[in-house]
């Protein structure tokens, strides 16, 4: 009889290795449910969940919505582009109005780091952070680790390199916390302008040469260049970035071992990953998407249990 140590999933930083283990074990069960002819269980039938997205998303929102529906929860969707936020309503007012309609859980994406943490101090509902600015994206990190565990048996002791725009990436930060909590070795790799200044304080290795990074790792998690978050030029051109940091099939084949290639999506084909690399047998990109639903079901189920 286990339960999570937290009432909200705000970030990987706040949860314990035991929590991660429990989420994985529960997700194993949900993955089994998702492979049945009838992919639905009635667990959350008396729960209403609001997906509150102040920032664009395809994969994460669909994945959460599907997870909620597979658990039989009632779902309402909110996106800021078509709402009263445009009329000047504050975050807290918006969310309190949603909660007044008797909503039990909030799944939120917001462009400001810490927005879900702020919310958790003011409202009674369970909150799941679906990405807050450049800070954390916990469910993505969980499904990444879950996918590594599925492919390689375990995460502990594995060498994982995160390649690309570490500075603007919430996926990178959550992954660093998640991997370290499970006993993996983590390296970040990218142009020095896209590496945070104090990244070494998190206990990760830093490598500027992508070929050396690939030769070192068991798993390469490749990130997108987040042009929409970049307020200045961090590198001369996308072409130059691709030349130095783009990964293609030839590079993967030249390694003396099999590595696992991951990407949180959306992929910019031909920038950080070439098409032949993204579609190669190294890649578990679509497994990540599949596992995303099971992981989110597990998180919602376990948080709902905490009430």
């Amino acid at each position: 009889m286990q339960e999570l140590s937290v009432r909200h999933l705000l970030g990987i930083k706040d949860i314990t290795p035991q929590d991660i283990q429990l989420i994985f074990e529960t997700a194993d069960n949900f993955k089994d449910v998702l492979n049945r002819p009838i992919k639905k269980v009635p667990s959350l039938r008396d729960i209403t969940i609001a997906n509150v997205f102040f920032e664009n998303s395809t994969r994460t929102r669909l994945s959460f919505e599907l997870a909620e529906k597979r658990l039989s929860a009632d779902v309402i969707n909110f996106s800021s582009s078509s709402s009263s936020v445009k009329k000047g309503e504050t975050l807290l007012d918006t969310v309190n109005n949603i909660l007044a309609m008797k909503v039990d859980m909030i799944v939120m994406r917001h462009s400001s780091p810490g927005a879900p943490h702020f919310l958790s101090k003011h409202i009674p509902a369970n909150i799941v952070n679906a990405g807050d600015g450049t800070h954390e994206h916990p469910t993505q990190a969980l499904l990444d680790s879950f996918s590594i565990r599925e492919r390689l048996g375990e995460v502990a002791g594995k060498k994982v390199v995160i390649i690309g725009d570490i500075l603007h990436s919430r996926v990178a930060l959550s992954n660093i916390f998640a991997l370290q909590k499970q006993g993996a070795e983590v390296m970040v790799c990218g142009p020095s302008t896209l590496l945070p200044k104090y990244i070494k304080q998190l206990g990760v290795k830093v490598e500027l040469d992508v070929r050396k990074a690939l030769a070192w790792c068991d798993v390469a998690n490749v990130l997108r260049i987040q042009l929409e978050r970049q307020q200045m030029k961090y590198f001369p051109s996308l072409r130059e970035y691709t030349l130095y940091y783009g990964i293609d099939k030839k590079m993967l084949d030249s390694l003396d071992k099999e590595i696992v290639l991951m990407h949180p999506g959306p992929i910019n084909r031909g920038v950080e990953l070439s098409s032949d690399a993204a579609d190669s047998h190294h890649s578990i990109i679509l497994n990540q998407v599949e596992n995303g639903v099971a992981i989110r079901m597990a998180v919602l189920y376990l948080l709902a249990q905490k009430g």
Binding site: Q2, N29, I38, V41, D46, A304
Partner: protein, 182 residues
């Protein structure tokens, strides 16, 4: 805490043998029948019934394990959290005669959840319920077993524990446990 032995291992062997013969009476050669043990503890009963049937009939009756956690009606209503177990059903139950197997039948809520969970795998021709222990006068739902090892009249504060050799117990036994008033 008081522990009273209600079925010892010899009796339990006889009980399992009797239940297996009763199953054979109704299911003939088991060509259309499957066994589903309810997780977590019905699994051991199902394994025992399967191996006993194998020794009598010389064939393995398809046996799977069904987890009912996500179908329970007490989610968010109980003090202790529910932990899920694996479901393993490697065969189709569409059109089959399903024998649900559990160790103890008490309120009947697990069996209701099991019926619900089972439907996700197809529509069986019919469903029977086999339990080792039927706790009388305690049902919350109109559910009755088809095959019963033994009826036990017990208090609500008591608990029936079925132990299996090798599963954290030295031998097969069924106990009635009474918690002391504090």
């Amino acid at each position: 805490m008081q522990k009273r032995l209600i079925v010892n291992h010899q009796l339990l062997d006889i009980m399992v043998m009797r239940l297996s013969h009763q199953l054979i009476e109704n299911h003939d050669d088991f060509s259309d029948s499957v066994i589903l043990g309810l997780q977590p503890r019905g699994k051991f009963v199902a394994q025992r019934i399967q191996s006993t049937l194998a020794s009598i009939l010389g064939k393995q009756v398809p046996t799977g394990y069904l987890d009912t956690t996500f179908h329970r009606d007490d989610f968010r209503r109980r003090d202790t959290p529910l932990t899920a177990n694996a479901t393993k059903i490697d065969f189709l139950i569409e059109g089959k005669k399903v024998i649900l197997v559990d160790d103890v039948l008490y309120t009947g809520r697990s069996v209701r959840a099991a019926l619900d969970a089972m439907i996700a795998y197809g529509r069986p021709a019919n469903v029977e319920l086999l339990v080792l222990i039927d706790r009388l006068y305690s049902r919350h739902l109109p559910i009755q077993p088809t095959y019963v090892g033994r009826h036990v009249n017990s208090l609500q504060s008591q608990r029936v524990l079925v132990e299996w050799k090798g599963e954290q117990a030295p031998e097969d036994n069924i106990w009635l446990i009474t918690k002391n008033e504090e």
